[in-house]
Symmetry: C2
Subunit: 201 residues, 2 copies
């Protein structure tokens, strides 16, 4: 694959849980070649429109397999919303509430996006063809087609299922955060009521 393709693949299919910039990508490809984990194929095309295809080496493949088995770090420990929420703890309850409402909206929108993409993918999991939107976006990644041979059909289904499941992960996350919003809003509500009563007494 060429760098451009990788970028397209990531943007199209993995954008809700991963991102790469060209800067990072080309530099990394260069480093992989230096380390013998990938080889740079011949340039095809000319001038600004030439393509450089990279291929993984045997060493690269085994390194990759080792990496897959290695521990992943726990999902990020930096949430700007929660930081603001915490730092607002001495301010007015109303302001804190506003903050949570904004978060609720944001997560609600996310959830809607995930659900829309999810609907698109359902078909391919049932052994049907990949939806055009995705086929186009993931184009050069050479998705296996579900039509012909049994083994190929199995692989295709598996790929579709896994892509679908990454989306489902987003759905579950967003749902969890929305459930939290409900809880937080009613807790703040209760606090406001209590405070008001306290002031009267």
């Amino acid at each position: 694959m060429a760098g451009y393709d990788i970028k397209k693949l990531v943007d199209a299919g993995l954008s809700h849980f991963w991102s790469e910039s060209y800067g990072q990508l080309y530099q990394t490809l260069g480093r992989l070649v230096e380390q013998g984990l990938a080889v740079r194929g011949e340039d095809s095309g000319t001038g600004g429109r030439r393509r450089v295809a990279y291929a993984i080496t045997e060493q690269g493949r085994s390194e990759f397999r080792a990496w897959l088995k290695k521990d992943f770090e726990a999902p990020s420990v930096r949430n700007e919303f929660l930081l603001k929420f915490f730092l607002a703890s001495r301010g007015e309850v109303a302001e804190v509430r506003q903050l949570v409402l904004g978060y609720q909206t944001q997560q609600g929108e996310r959830l809607a996006e995930y659900r829309a993409s999810e609907a698109l993918l359902r078909g391919a999991v049932e052994g049907g063809p990949w939806p055009d939107e995705l086929r186009h976006a993931l184009g050069r990644v050479a998705l296996e087609d579900g039509a012909e041979e049994s083994a190929a059909r199995g692989r295709s289904t598996q790929q579709a299922l896994i892509l679908l499941l990454t989306l489902r992960h987003g759905v579950h996350s967003a749902e969890g955060r929305l459930a939290w919003c409900e809880e937080a809003l009613s807790a703040l509500e209760a606090l406001a009521v209590e405070t008001a009563r306290g002031e009267k007494v």
Copy 2:
């Protein structure tokens, strides 16, 4: 507050959703002073044990309030687990399953930690005193005490509630991810069964 205190505060109370390193911290404090958003107080103490207290300026305070109201970016778009999960999509189902099992364990442990901290905090929300563990950790942040005056009790309760809610956010997130694990595992199970049947036929 001094840089050291801020670091302690973040490590003790915010560690599950934020982190700062000394390098970042002292450099940032310096920049804030340059920009007139904070002032550097006199050094107290001598030699290696001196303390430098920083205080926010009026300008800093208004900048801070503006920042609180500004949009936060959606929680991070980089999840190493999901990347591995996606990239494993052409491998054996059994390996993918292993990956998910690891994630399940990790998230289960996280959930247990959150629940433990949560129990600690419950008391303070009920208007009781801050638990010693937290009082010590958050020490210099000058937590308001819930004992005396009505207004102070209100503020203290609010602070405790908000800290508790940040923890609850972690609980909801972990629960959502664990629910996903269940779903993913049974989907992979179904796939394996189907594939086996396909091969026999």
